[in-house]
C-alpha cells in the first residue's frame, strides 16, 4: 500500500487532531459521557450513512481506490463509515467548546443588570 492510499485517513486524523485537544483546553466533560456520545453518533450518523450508501449506489459520487484503504463496507470505503463517527464527534466538541468559552466570558464579566440580562442569555 502506498502513502496515497492514506489520503482519506489523513483528513480524518486532521479532524481529530484539531478537536481532541479542545477537551483538556476547555475542560470538556464530553468524553465522560460515552453512552450519550455513542447514542449521538449512532442516531445522527446513521441516516446520513444510509444516504451515503444510497448515493454511492446511485452513482452520485464515488471514491478513488488509489487514495483510500482497500477495505469496503457495503460498497463504501471504511474511511467513509468513520467519517460519520468523526464528524458528529467534532461537531459536539466544537459546540461544547463555544459554550465553555461563553460560560467563561460570563463568569469573568461583571453581572449584567436585570434589564440587560435577557439580551445576554
Amino acid at each position: 500500500m502506498s502513502l496515497r492510499h492514506w489520503s482519506y485517513v489523513a483528513m480524518l486524523v486532521f479532524c481529530m487532531a484539531g478537536t481532541l485537544p479542545l477537551v483538556p483546553v476547555f475542560r470538556l466533560h464530553v468524553l465522560r459521557r460515552p453512552g450519550r456520545l455513542l447514542m449521538t453518533v449512532v442516531a445522527a450518523g446513521s441516516p446520513f450513512l444510509l444516504w451515503d450508501l444510497y448515493a454511492t449506489r446511485a452513482g452520485h459520487w464515488r471514491f478513488d481506490p488509489a487514495q483510500t484503504l482497500p477495505w469496503r463496507v457495503l460498497g463504501v470505503p471504511l474511511e467513509e463509515v468513520a467519517f460519520f463517527v468523526v464528524i458528529p464527534l467534532v461537531s459536539v466538541l466544537t459546540y461544547e467548546s463555544v459554550r465553555a468559552v461563553g460560560r467563561r466570558g460570563r463568569a469573568a464579566a461583571p453581572a449584567p443588570r436585570a434589564a440587560e440580562r435577557r439580551k445576554v442569555r
Binding site: M11, R32, A55, W61, F63, F84, E96, V98
Partner: protein, 111 residues
Amino acid sequence: MSYTAIAVVAALAAVALDRWAARTRLTTTRAWWAAYGIIVGFQLLTNGWLTGRGIVRYDPGAVIGGDRVTFVGDGRLVYAPVEDLGFGFALVLTACVVWVWLGRRSGEGEA
C-alpha cells in the same frame, strides 16, 4: 433524486428537527451558529482536500455543477460541490441536536 434535491431536503429536515421535533432550538442560539461558523471553515478546508484531490468524485448529473473540478465556480466552492454545504449543515446540526436533546432528557444539561 439528485444530490442537490436531497441536500436541500436534509438541511430543511435538520432545522425542522431542531425547531419542532426535538425543540432544542439550537438554530436560535448564538453559540450554535458560532460553532457552525468554525466548523464550516474547516469543512471547506478538509472537503477541499477530499474533492480537490479527487478522493471523492461526483457525477455531473447529480449536482448543479459540471464535470470540471474548479476552486470556485461551476457549482463548486473550494473544489467541492455546493451541495456539500447542505450535507454538512444537516449533519452538524443533527449531531448537536441529538447531543443536546439527550443531555436535557437525562438532566445532564451541559457537558
